[in-house]
Amino acid sequence: MFRKLVKGCLLATVCLLPSIATAQSAQSDTVKGIERYRELLADGNPAELWEARGEGLWKEKRGPKKASLETCDLGKGPGVVKGAYTELPRYFKDTGRVMDLESRLLHCMTGIQGMDGAAIKRNAFGSGTNRSDMEALVAYVTSESKGIKMKVSTAHPKEKESYAMGEKIFFYRGGSHDFACATCHGENDKRIRLQDLPNLLNKKDAQRAYTTWPAYRVSQGELRTFQWRLFDCFRQQRFPALEYGSEASIALTTFLAKNANGAAFNAPALKR
């Protein structure tokens, strides 16, 4: 897997060298190079390492209560992992809240295993040897939804409320730069520098964007979940730090996940 990865990087570097003089063709060359780079890496995604570790963590008896997560209900019944992510976020009767995968896992780890929730949140984003159990668990659970169509419901009033709240947050301009999510993700065919931006109000773009998270980020050497995606967007938006698993973060996820309904889930993916 890693040999393939190294080969991919080398080839991609060659592809990315600008070889043609005019601006237009040099740019389309760069875009082609990036596409080729993705193709080369696609059949050797390091995300598999996170998935395997996550599966181990799911089944292992851990925490003060020495329990596995196999009784954790992700919405389709205790222990059912298959397809669970395609119906999240959703309303959970036992907590009376709409929860996304990360907040639900946090609930199970603190409740079933007796772990310290604050410590889990502090370590939610792994870095090198300081690995995040949350990222591994999310990798495993989401991998069990690969190929299954997104089907997020807003039948329950709390789910409706969450969606409506998420929509408002999407358009919420603030901070030193007056940015909202919509500033970068509200129009078709836009770029920041050379980075293509999905229009998350457009069905096709919304589907492609949401169904490719979580992802292994080559630039970071880490697997990142959707909570991280939102956290880092808000950082660049010049907002304060998004609280992990907050109602605001779940509402925004409900809005974006529901907009991806009908598309086959295709993650953990691989991104630059």
Binding site: L194, E243, A248
Partner: protein, 210 residues
């Protein structure tokens, strides 16, 4: 305990029915109120580095431009532009053109104001993130219009200098709900940096006009 649970269940059902009724009538009516959104925004973020929770507090422009359909409120749009224009502070020395070389560096830099940035670090304008400017910089974004040959096509008159400086200072003054930050109004750039950017746009020797 069992009774209590049942009470909760019945209350939940009643609530559910009420909400479902509203929802069926009109999705827009289900939309959560401004106060609830504000509450969850303030609960949902933590101050970090230089980004305090005050960043979440919206001024009139931010509030108005966050509501989809603002375009239809034509009178309010005009009024907002007038208000924002009145907030532009032009340099006391009357000089609006700085150095285009320095302006190019400001246009390239995306540093500043993020909670991950060192407090007090000099912010850039990151113009290239959204605009095409110099012909030799191929890595430019498309959220804003191309500014290629900005000065060449518009000239370098004093009125044009005031427009360019004012637009950089407060983009909302000329186009309400523009996506562009208000670099002067929000204290992102210094007066000198904005003069340098004005030169980058208008100086005949600037790569923008070559």
């Amino acid at each position: 305990m069992r009774n209590f649970n049942r009470m909760l269940y019945v209350a939940g059902l009643a609530l559910g029915m009420a909400s479902a009724g509203v929802a069926a009538a009109d999705r827009a009516q289900v939309a959560v109120g401004e106060a609830e959104v504000m509450r969850e925004m303030f609960r949902g973020f933590n101050p970090q580095g230089q980004a305090g929770l005050s960043r979440l507090r919206q001024d009139d422009m931010q509030k108005f431009c966050s509501s989809p359909g603002w375009q239809k409120q034509k009178a309010r749009v005009k009024q907002l532009e007038k208000e924002q224009l009145a907030l532009v502070k032009y340099p006391a020395d009357g000089k609006l053109l700085g150095s285009w070389e320095a302006g190019e560096r400001v246009a390239q830099s995306g540093v500043g104001m993020q909670f991950s940035d060192a407090p007090g670090s000099v912010a850039g304008a990151n113009c290239y993130a959204c605009h095409q400017l110099s012909g030799t910089e191929l890595s430019f974004g498309t959220i804003g219009p191309s500014l290629r040959n900005f000065g060449k096509t518009r000239g370098n008159s004093e009125a044009m200098q005031r427009y360019a400086y004012g637009k950089i200072y407060n983009s909302q003054a000329y186009s309400a709900c523009s996506n562009m930050p208000r670099f002067g109004h929000s204290g992102i750039l210094t007066e000198q940096q904005m003069k340098d950017l004005t030169a980058l746009l208008l100086d005949p020797n600037s790569p923008v006009n070559k």
